[in-house]
């Protein structure tokens, strides 16, 4: 990369600070996004883990929902982890009353809390397609899964037969939390996607 790409981290609620640290470590310039004006000049945006109902509400009250959706449908690279994957999806399986319409950044439907409650949260090694150098350690916190996906969506990782990571064009989602480990390979993949060096 010639100039450090500017990657936004949606900073309304959740694990946004850890993502910003990870992005800086792979050579990106991370900036917090709290309002529509913060979307200017971004090469990509990370939608972090947190509570999807909370972030979904705050996206709307901050006036970010429509501008973000427009930017993403216009080709802005997006990386969604856990709640971020839920918000990036086209739809939810069995939505609750506070599950608002997601951004529809890629053609997947997602089931929230698919592994159960916190006592069922776990870590496990994953084989991730497109990430070289051995298994990636996945940290799953009340994690969702990808239940259905369009034919143009590529599933990149599985856990016990369930799809937990996917990609289409410049949009990358995973059910687990690479920002909670020191392994930066997935953040590096996303930054390369954002600058157009890593095409599907």
């Amino acid at each position: 990369m010639s100039v450090d790409p500017r990657i936004g981290v949606l900073a309304l609620q959740g694990a946004f600070a850890r993502h910003a640290e990870a992005l800086e470590e792979v050579g990106a310039h991370a900036t917090e996004v709290r309002g529509p004006e913060d979307l200017a000049g971004l090469a990509g945006i990370v939608v972090p883990g947190g509570e999807s109902t909370t972030i979904g509400m705050l996206l709307r009250s901050a006036g970010l929902w429509s501008p973000l959706r427009e930017r993403v449908s216009g080709g802005l690279a997006l990386f969604g982890t856990c709640a971020g994957m839920i918000l990036a999806a086209r739809g939810l399986v069995d939505p609750g009353p506070n599950d608002r319409e997601p951004l529809g950044a890629l053609g997947i439907t997602v089931r929230r809390n698919a592994f159960g409650r916190q006592v069922d949260s776990f870590e496990a090694d994953l084989d991730v397609r497109g990430v070289e150098g051995g298994p990636f350690h996945g940290v799953f916190i009340r994690a969702p899964v990808i239940e259905t996906w369009d034919s143009d969506v590529e599933v990149l990782a599985w856990q016990n037969g369930r799809a937990v990571m996917a990609r289409r064009g410049p949009v990358l989602v995973c059910a687990f939390h690479p920002e909670l480990t020191q392994d930066r390979r997935i953040h590096d993949l996303f930054v390369r996607m954002a600058v157009g060096e890593e095409n599907l």
Partner: protein, 295 residues
């Protein structure tokens, strides 16, 4: 591939996901729905809010499981519940109930005056209150995966939470400027595990998230404690003891997210109705000061 549960990373991971959010005390499923609708990132399921526990007196215990189950059924966000300090059997019941976090809380009547729960023995994560850095590190040493200031629960008065936060954050900052030879004396003075003291001196932060609790009643209270270094807010009596809980809950959520933007805090502070009636903490007799429970 094989799955490992209840690790430190998995326990602290949920606390990471709750950052920048508001955890609200609720006593009914209706409260829980109002909280989730207002943007709470989690709820604390209780039989009575701290202000009522304070007013009622007597021994305050873990809630009836049926009350917690109703709240678990009502919302999709994490549900926390409280057990008494040192009452590991209550904690075992709450783990069997599959609550998402256990608060070993001074708001309930302590069950053990000498020992807190060995929290490493559980799969479910724990949050514990602290009034200073030493207390926080002792709880982390016992396995707590999140620390919150104690504040003075049920008082509607943020002064104690501010005292505790300033003490914890200030002592973390001071450890960062200590040289290696001073760290053992610091561990002695804080009555804290040496390895944790050294870790904080190296990293400049607690190894687990630091949240604020105790007396937060207004959006500006939330902004204040976030600016002082809290990473999230617990709001207890402040919401459901106020005139318009749904509106106040939503306003505190907005103020927690946009804590550094006074224009947003101003906007959401308008026309919230009656706040809860507060207590001047200095008038509380020592026997009624909840923050003095635990050590």
């Amino acid at each position: 591939m094989s799955e490992e549960r209840g690790t430190g990373r998995v326990k602290r991971g949920l606390a990471e996901m709750l950052k920048g959010g508001v955890i609200m005390d609720v006593v009914t499923a209706d409260h829980a729905r109002i909280a989730e609708d207002a943007g709470a990132c989690a709820v604390m399921a209780l039989e009575r809010v701290p202000a009522d526990i304070r007013a009622d007196g007597g021994v305050a215990r873990m809630s009836d499981p049926v009350l917690i189950e109703r709240i678990q059924a009502a919302v999709s966000i994490p549900v926390m519940a409280k057990c008494r300090i040192g009452h590991f059997a209550e904690a075992q019941v709450l783990e069997a109930l599959r609550v998402d976090y256990i608060d070993e809380s001074e708001v309930l009547t302590p069950a053990d005056e000498a020992n807190h729960i060995d929290k490493w023995a559980f799969t479910v994560p724990f949050v514990c209150g602290a009034t200073n850095l030493g207390e926080a590190l002792r709880r982390i040493g016992e396995g707590a995966a999140m620390i919150r200031s104690k504040g003075e629960a049920g008082s509607g008065n943020v002064v104690e939470a501010v005292r505790h936060l300033r003490s914890i954050v200030g002592d973390i900052r001071r450890l960062g400027t200590s040289d290696d030879a001073e760290l053992m004396a610091a561990a002695k003075n804080h009555a804290a595990p040496f390895e944790l003291v050294r870790e904080i001196a190296d990293t400049g932060r607690l190894p687990v998230p630091l949240f604020c609790a105790g007396g937060i009643s207004t959006p500006a209270d939330a902004s204040l404690v976030m600016q002082l270094g809290a990473e999230s807010c617990f709001v207890g009596s402040g919401i459901f003891k106020s005139g318009d809980p749904a509106k106040r809950a939503r306003a505190i959520v907005e103020a927690t997210t946009h804590y550094a933007d006074p224009d947003v805090v101003l906007k959401v502070s308008r026309d919230l109705g009656e706040p809860m009636v507060g207590i001047d903490v200095t008038t509380l007799p020592e026997s009624e000061r909840l923050a003095d429970r635990g050590w």
